[in-house]
Amino acid sequence: MQAAVIVFPGSNCDRDVAVSLAHIMGRPPLMVWHRDAQLPKVDLVVVPGGFSYGDYLRSGAMAAHSPILRSVKEAAAKGTRVLGICNGFQILTEAGLLPGALMRNRGLKFVCKDVHLSVLRADTDFTRRYRKHQVIRIPIAHADGNFFADDDTLERIEDNGQVAFRYVDEAGNLDDRANPNGSARAIAGLYNETATVLGLMPHPERLADPALGGTDGVPMFESLLEALS
């Protein structure tokens, strides 16, 4: 399987995710520069974390209108798997590939820390190596991760099984104190209707190496490898 990582000028987790992909999938991803209009043929596109074009207007807003994103949208429409992490998630919602929007954190501050997530589905290409309702520990690092959607949209995405991860406490219980940014229904990650596009605020690539203190991010990359090989 071949993955590609989109590199915007302000991306700063592009290398981190490329390291995880290369390490776990045994093959380095293609690094695709934001001005390239055409995406190479790949099985997985990763939109990494960072500050794409500075994020001065709204996180991800400008990147969502870049030429490369048009190409990513076309690929997604044909079923290519797309993973948006942090700023990548913001870009995918701004681009309309995922519903809702990511607003300023409830506490108004940037937050970098480990959080616990409940894996809501273990039957997708992104999560098949996790167990359903498994609690995993993954770091977040963002100022705009407060997921918002109107009530109808929330009902719809719940009914469609589009919620990928929720913020929970260590024991797996929903608890407002475990919701680091005020996200609606503690949503930390979200699929599109076909579960071929995933966006999430936490960074699975940041805990995918025992030397860094955890490996709960590894199964996501293993899942993709297994599904797409």
Partner: protein, 79 residues
């Protein structure tokens, strides 16, 4: 000519910044402060000389980029 664009959060969307500003005003002793909403103000210089065309163009900019219509409204004023 110049376009003035105001971007505000839609009613019903929680505005944590507005809430914080409201709290701060109260703690400074300002009486009778109601709901506070924080938005963005954007000025755009335009080569266009026809106000109607300018407004249409900026409205398009608003929908495509300046505002995220999932959470935000915007108004355009041409001067």
């Amino acid at each position: 000519m110049k376009a003035k664009v105001h971007v505000t959060l839609k009613n019903g969307v929680l505005d944590p910044q507005g809430k914080a500003v409201g709290h701060a005003l109260e703690s400074l002793g300002f009486q009778g402060v109601g709901d506070v909403r924080v938005g963005k103000y954007i000025e755009i210089e335009l080569a266009e000389t026809d106000p109607a065309k300018a407004k249409a163009a900026v409205t398009d900019m608003g929908k495509q980029l300046l505002a995220n219509t999932v959470i935000e409204n915007f108004t355009v004023e041409i001067v």
